[in-house]
């Protein structure tokens, strides 16, 4: 019996397939309570590694004898240290998370959402550790990527495997919870990078403007991507309708919640915009559109194969954030008692504007933790 590494991808598969998994998280208590691996079939306990330096005798009663135990820490060193002790103590099925929570935060899982009418497909890239969702629309050898994560090599590799050229890179808004890989991906693939002009006032690098009415054509058929100006989370927030079937909502509307309007510092001003977008602009769209958001906040939102999606009409029935009829109560809900802001969100916005350029290691640290972009009704 020996200690085995388990990759973030393997853990993702277990979470998506709802395979039972027992996690011993050995980070300190505050890191654990802030952010951890979750899943419907995941059970976890937290005992900091520094309480286990003299041995694991004190916790063996809390651990299952015949189940897989995954030991998790921040980077992996402490989980190996504790994992080896568990193996010595006679536990047979012990593994550690390779690369720790850092690797968990960075893993992107590509999931196919569906086919497009004139050929091609739309894919969702699930960043399971952080709850971020990005998209690739692929048709006839061309691709458009939406809300790119920092780990741009994943999209490049995926595109090259499918013989796709990344022609357009779009951010639906200026992100505050994660560092956009948009600029880097566009530079490396020779594609054009589009940002909504109202969010890009302070952006320091050259880019194209994402404007309602200026549609994209991906591939040489008629796969249309229509920008819809939909302010609220940020003043520039723009949604995209893909192939007349999919509504990419960015951080405006999620499956179980709605966007928060305060991360650029203007909750009061933008609450009305958010209400206008959700209660009037989106209402005029086809209720058959499949909503594809830029985030999920709870693993319960992960559906079949890890997909996160829902019909717009269904959301108008079920999502509480779309069912607050009183405007004043809506404003209160989205501007009071908000969850804590995402880790380092100010520095992340500055990075996404090109104003600061932190080292990769620092960028990783800035992104640690959950996304926290939603307001739950």
């Amino acid at each position: 019996m020996s200690l085995k590494p388990l990759t973030a991808k393997e853990v993702t598969t277990k979470v998506i397939n709802k395979e039972p998994l027992f996690i011993l998280d050995v980070r300190n208590e505050s890191d654990f309570s802030d952010w951890k691996i979750e899943g419907e079939s995941v059970k976890s306990i937290n005992v900091p590694y520094f309480d286990l330096i003299d041995g694991v005798e004190g916790i063996v009663d809390q651990l299952p004898k015949d189940e897989n135990i995954l030991v998790v820490c921040a980077k992996e060193g402490s989980s190996k240290f504790v994992g080896e002790q568990l193996v010595e103590a006679g536990f047979g099925q012990v593994s550690y998370l390779s690369g720790g929570m850092k690797a968990w935060s960075e893993h992107l899982e590509p999931v196919k959402i569906g086919d497009l009418k004139d050929g091609g497909s739309i894919y969702q890239f699930v960043r399971i550790g952080k709850g971020c969702l990005s998209y690739m629309i692929a048709s006839n050898g061309e691709a458009l990527v939406v809300d790119t994560a920092r780990m741009t090599d994943v999209y490049e590799k995926f595109a090259s495997e499918q013989n796709l050229t990344i022609k357009y890179v779009v951010d639906t808004h200026l992100h505050a919870d994660h560092i956009s890989g948009g600029r880097k991906l566009a530079e490396s693939t020779g594609g054009a990078y589009y940002l909504p002009p109202k969010d890009a006032g302070e952006v320091t690098f050259e880019h194209e403007e994402l404007i309602e009415g200026n549609n994209f054509v991906v591939g040489n058929t008629t796969v249309e991507v229509q920008p819809i100006y939909s302010p609220g989370h940020t003043i520039g927030s723009t949604s995209l309708i893909v192939d007349g079937s999919y509504l990419l909502t960015g951080d405006i509307l999620f499956v179980e919640s709605i966007g928060r309007p305060d991360l650029a510092g203007k909750a009061g001003d933008w609450a009305d915009d958010l209400r206008e977008t959700l209660y009037s602009k989106y209402k005029n769209l086809s209720m058959d559109l499949i909503v594809l958001p830029a985030h999920f906040s709870q693993v319960s939102e992960l559906g079949e194969n890890g997909q996160v999606k829902a019909e717009l009409g269904e959301l108008y029935k079920k999502n509480e954030g779309l069912n607050i009829s009183d405007a004043e109560r809506f404003n209160k809900t989205v501007s009071e008692n908000l969850p804590p802001q995402p880790n380092a969100y100010q520095e992340i916005r500055q990075t996404n504007m090109g104003k600061i350029d932190p080292e990769e290691e620092e960028q990783r640290e800035m992104e640690i933790g959950p996304n926290r972009c939603a307001v739950h009704g």
Binding site: N28, D31, Y49, F50, K75, G77, S78, E365
Partner: protein, 189 residues
């Protein structure tokens, strides 16, 4: 520079090693002594504080110098937590707080280690660690009303005894002391 009894170099080490080495270094210190741990692992700050809390040692604070984090820890004394103040003249934290608000000329003597003093102290307090009282008590004025403070009231009790033996008659022990002090403080952080 903060005076310490031992410096542990854990630079370049990833977790769990900074804590494993800290634990070992602490066993080599005697109660009351202060350890400085130099580390480059950013995560070590929260972990050192967490380890100290769970083991009963005292985490004093961290100073960042470039890429190096300097953590300060004081080895606790099991007797410190016991309530056995024998020195008869005592004052509560709240009473002292009131006196400080009313009278600016008050003398507060802090007998904790320099590293404890460095991170968190009553503004204007004089620092003479208990271990140096024998040599340095003459720095104090016999006519002053002196309020002696430490973390929990124990070291200050000993200091108050020592001062009264030396003929200082206006000495008052502050109980419990800095561990529960909620008044204004200062420190280099």
């Amino acid at each position: 520079m903060i005076k310490t009894d031992k410096v542990l170099d854990a630079k370049g080490l990833a977790c769990p090693m900074p804590i494993v080495k800290t634990k070992k270094a602490m066993t080599e210190l005697s109660a009351g002594q202060v350890l400085e741990v130099q580390a480059t692992d950013k995560g070590s700050k929260a972990d050192i504080a967490g380890w100290a809390k769970n083991t009963g040692h005292q985490y004093l604070g961290t100073v960042e110098e470039g890429d190096v984090l300097k953590h300060y820890l004081r080895k606790s004394n099991p007797e410190e937590t016991k309530e056995e103040s024998k020195y008869p003249h005592v004052i509560s934290n709240d009473e002292l707080k009131k006196k400080l608000e009313d009278n600016e000329g008050i003398v507060v003597l802090d007998v904790r280690e320099p590293a404890e003093f460095a991170f968190n102290r009553i503004k204007g307090a004089i620092s003479i660690p208990l271990g140096e009282m024998e040599e340095r008590y003459t720095e104090l004025n016999k006519d002053d009303q002196i309020y002696v403070v430490c973390r929990t009231g124990n070291r200050s009790d000993m200091a108050a005894h020592l001062l009264s033996e030396k003929g200082y008659n206006n000495v008052v022990n502050v109980v419990p002391g800095m561990s529960e002090w909620d008044g204004e403080t200062t420190g280099n952080n």
